[in-house]
């Protein structure tokens, strides 16, 4: 019996703790402070980078120790650490319980429709206007009711000793805006949890022409996809004469038991989705092999045209002639220094160039650099050699993700937008109009209250007063 009571005491105490705003402030502060630390320390980075960074703050000697301490505490990967998750959980519990505690009070306000009020209450309201009309009370009340209706208020009516009271309201449910916003945070966090538990985040580097049935987590663990994905082609294009990339494109094909079922050209803002798994263009790399293929479109001076796919050093013929060419050198990014000397200026295929040697009857005729991005270099003595692509020398870096919770996150975002709109831009406005007999005419008292945006509501009340005051 007594143990039971004690138990209840603890539950109550925990409930009290979680319903306190103090806890909210403390958790807010801790989350913010630790997050800030997390933005300074590079997350999931090479230890050396952070040791170098720490050396600036604590000196070179102490930096490795400082790093070890931070690493043990989880600050080097803090946004996935158990304690950060715990903080987010406490924040959520706090949010739920605080909202829950305040809900009954608000709910009462929301459930309770506007009622007629006493003269004292009416006089105590801050927004008030008074008009004298020449009409009889009944006529005046009818007119006032019509004006209210025109302004979007549906009024109730109560007969009183010497007149009529009209009462109306708008936006009662807007008081729930805050709760809708809080609910949306729960939806978003719920979606994030579903994503973490049932989804995965991986990557996949796929050379042109290769396929894979798995993706890789950052730990190196394999995740089976359940189908096969192949990279048919990858291409970076640049803005004219610059090294500013314009687009990264991967030509992907999905295969199920060897059969092609879906194909799409993806680029950075345009991923491919198949069976709940999404492939994003994330990075790329250059890794040429002996099997990489030079793709040329060759036209002789007589106009005969042919497509050529050759490996490094493999000869090809200019169609309709006895002239053969072969690639004897390659640069992924050729540039020229001031003295006119050629050099490779980047490790990626920014400006690919093939050095082609042309021969006739076994005799070397001439050699020429041919550049993909520079059509002037395609013209040779015996025709045109358009260098289209070096295929199989690049890989596409894909971000591979499955997130079954993302729809909930999106729903949460929409609910949040609605909640914020309701909370900030909609108010609960109430209006009472008291029409009394005044020497055969009617004395109209308008009183109103609103919980938000008082100034603009007062303009509205002025408008209503003016409409009641003016004859139809």
């Amino acid at each position: 019996m007594s143990g039971d009571e004690k138990n209840k005491g603890i539950v109550e105490r925990i409930w009290d703790l979680f319903s306190s705003i103090k806890l909210a402030v403390v958790v807010f502060t801790i989350i913010s402070a630790t997050s800030i630390v997390g933005t300074v320390i590079e997350q999931q980075a090479e230890p050396e980078r952070n040791i170098k960074l720490l050396a600036k703050f604590v000196g070179v000697d102490f930096a490795p120790t400082a790093f070890r301490i931070l690493d043990t505490l989880g600050f080097t990967d803090m946004f996935r650490s158990w304690w950060f998750m715990a903080l987010l959980f406490i924040f959520t519990a706090n949010l739920v319980i605080c909202s829950f505690e305040r809900l009954p009070k608000i709910w009462k306000l929301v459930k309770e429709p506007v009622k007629p009020v006493t003269a004292e209450r009416l006089n105590a309201l801050s927004i008030k206007r008074e008009i004298i009309l020449k009409e009889k009370v009944d006529k005046a009340a009818e007119h006032a009711g019509a004006v209210l209706k025109r302004n979007g208020f549906r009024a109730g009516e109560r007969k009183e000793d010497n007149g009529v009271q009209l009462y109306a309201e708008k936006g009662r449910y807007s008081r729930l805006g805050v709760y809708i916003t809080h609910l949306s945070i729960l939806l978003i966090l719920g979606g994030a949890v579903i994503g973490m538990v049932f989804g995965f985040n991986g990557s996949l580097n796929l050379p042109e022409g290769m396929s894979s049935v798995v993706a890789y987590k950052s730990s190196g663990m394999q995740i089976p996809l359940g189908f096969e994905v192949r990279c048919d082609n990858f291409n970076v294009s640049f803005y004219d004469n610059t090294d500013t990339p314009k687009s990264y494109k991967s030509w992907l094909t999905i295969l199920e038991s060897g059969k092609e079922v879906k194909g799409k050209v993806i680029d950075v803002n345009n991923p491919l989705q198949y069976k709940g798994i999404t492939f994003y263009q994330a990075s790329y790399g250059y890794a040429p092999t002996r099997n990489s293929i030079f793709k040329f479109s060759v036209t002789s001076n007589a106009g005969t045209r042919g497509e050529v796919n050759v490996k490094f050093g493999e000869p090809f013929t200019i169609p309709g002639t006895a002239v053969t060419g072969k690639v004897i050198d390659f640069s992924p990014a050729i540039g020229m220094d001031e003295s006119g000397k050629l050099y490779t200026y980047a490790e990626m295929m920014n400006n690919p160039a093939a050095f082609v040697e042309f021969s006739e009857n076994g005799k070397m005729k001439y050699r020429q650099w041919i550049l993909v991005r520079l059509p002037q270099t395609w013209k040779v003595a015996d025709g045109t050699v358009e260098f289209k692509h070096l295929w199989g020398a690049q890989y596409t870096g894909l971000q591979v993700r499955r997130d079954p919770g993302v729809w909930l996150v999106y729903l949460g975002c929409m609910v949040m937008a609605m909640g914020l709109y309701t909370a900030f831009f909609m108010g609960h406005s109430r209006i009472w109009i008291w029409v009394r007999d005044d020497k055969g005419g009617a004395k109209v008292t308008i009183a109103a209250s609103v919980n938000k945006n008082k100034i603009s509501f007062e303009h509205k009340v002025d408008k209503i007063a003016k409409e009641i005051g003016s004859k139809k």
Partner: protein, 361 residues
């Protein structure tokens, strides 16, 4: 005429408007007031035309859709847009509250900011968009973020003024808080301004410039003496503000600005900025990140700092509504919120590395 000429007209107009606003406050002549407003509106229209022209220039060069050609992809452009938002917010306040008192403060800041952007040699060239930015979300995400930054900037100015006119005791915490906050703010911006002016010639790309030269002319100068002088100078500057803060108070009160108006304006600005920031900055940012990077939230420094900023303003709203905080306490929260905003906007790009490295370039 090209965009930079219109920017020039706008800066001159804003500075002329300042003179007119001060004259208006001195003589209380309504004709002068109308002239001041007219000059500001002319400057604003010119500013808008300049922005549209630059958009057009970008569109013609950039080989992309019109929505994606919004000129908001580097520091130069974003600062210009920020100033535009601030003037817009000011004009709305003037119109809604029928009060011209703030004009004398806002217009010189806008004019000087535009003039400074112009002479600092910030990279004005139009650069085509890199693939990650080629999305229609760019427009919504970036413009809404800046609108909210501008709203927060207004709340900062009004809450700062509130603190200035309501604190008298030099030993009280709020007085010390605002003097230090104001001193540090002005010093940091002055130091950055000096950097820009000193290293102007050498710079090619602003991002590398900022990374390697920030505060190098002052606090981080290779000569220890200069660095020491900078720190001592800043301390002295803060001391002067602390010592003569009452003069500022007299200036503001002489402009017939009341406490209640400042408190109300601070709240209104936060109430407008917060939903826009949530929707445009956080939600649209997350949706876009989801499409481009495959993650709606990566705890990238910019995202994290946005969240911290969001927390601070959420705290502001809850403290106001649940605890009924008013006056100085809540004004301090608004100031802290804007410090976070500035760090989200500039600090992250200048000091931390991450995915959002566009704003600095």
């Amino acid at each position: 005429m090209d965009s930079s000429q219109f920017f020039g007209i706008a800066s001159i107009a804003y500075i002329l408007a300042m003179v007119a606003y001060i004259a208006y406050l001195a003589f209380k002549n309504s004709v002068v007031g109308v002239i001041a407003t007219t000059i500001t509106v002319v400057g604003f229209i010119s500013h808008t035309i300049a922005f549209i022209l630059r958009w057009k220039e970008f569109y013609e060069i950039g080989q992309m859709g019109i929505l994606r050609a919004i000129p908001l992809t580097n520091l130069y452009e974003s600062l210009i847009f920020f100033v535009w938002c601030v003037i817009l917010a000011y004009l709305i306040i003037e119109w809604k509250y029928k009060n011209r008192s703030f004009g004398a403060f806002i217009t010189p800041i806008a004019g000087m900011a535009l003039a400074f952007i112009d002479i600092s040699g910030m990279d004005k060239n139009i650069h085509p968009l890199i693939p990650a930015l080629q999305s229609n979300w760019l427009l919504a995400h970036v413009t809404m973020s800046f609108l909210s930054y501008a709203a927060f900037a207004i709340s900062f100015a009004t809450s700062m003024m509130y603190l200035i006119i309501t604190t008298e005791d030099k030993k009280s915490a709020p007085y010390i808080f605002w003097t230090i906050a104001l001193g540090v703010f002005v010093s940091v911006f002055l130091a950055m301004g000096i950097d820009f002016l000193v290293f102007k010639v050498a710079m090619s790309s602003p991002e590398s410039f900022i990374k390697s030269y920030l505060f190098k002319a002052t606090y981080r100068n290779s000569s220890g003496a200069v660095s020491l002088v900078s720190y001592v100078g800043t301390a002295a500057f803060i001391f002067v503000i602390w010592k003569y803060g009452y003069l500022l108070r007299n200036v503001i009160t002489s402009f017939s600005i009341s406490q209640d108006l400042l408190d109300d304006l601070t709240y209104k600005s936060v109430a407008v900025g917060f939903p826009i920031f949530t929707l445009g900055g956080l939600i649209f940012g997350a949706v876009w990140a989801d499409q481009a990077w495959g993650r709606y939230w990566s705890w990238d420094p910019k995202e994290t700092w946005s969240l911290v900023t969001w927390f601070v303003y959420a705290f502001y709203l809850h403290a106001r509504f649940l605890r009924g905080w008013r006056g100085r306490r809540i004004a301090v929260v608004a100031v802290v919120g804007f410090v976070c905003t500035v760090f989200t906007y500039l600090g992250v790009n200048l000091l931390l590395s991450g995915l959002h490295s566009y704003g600095g370039g």
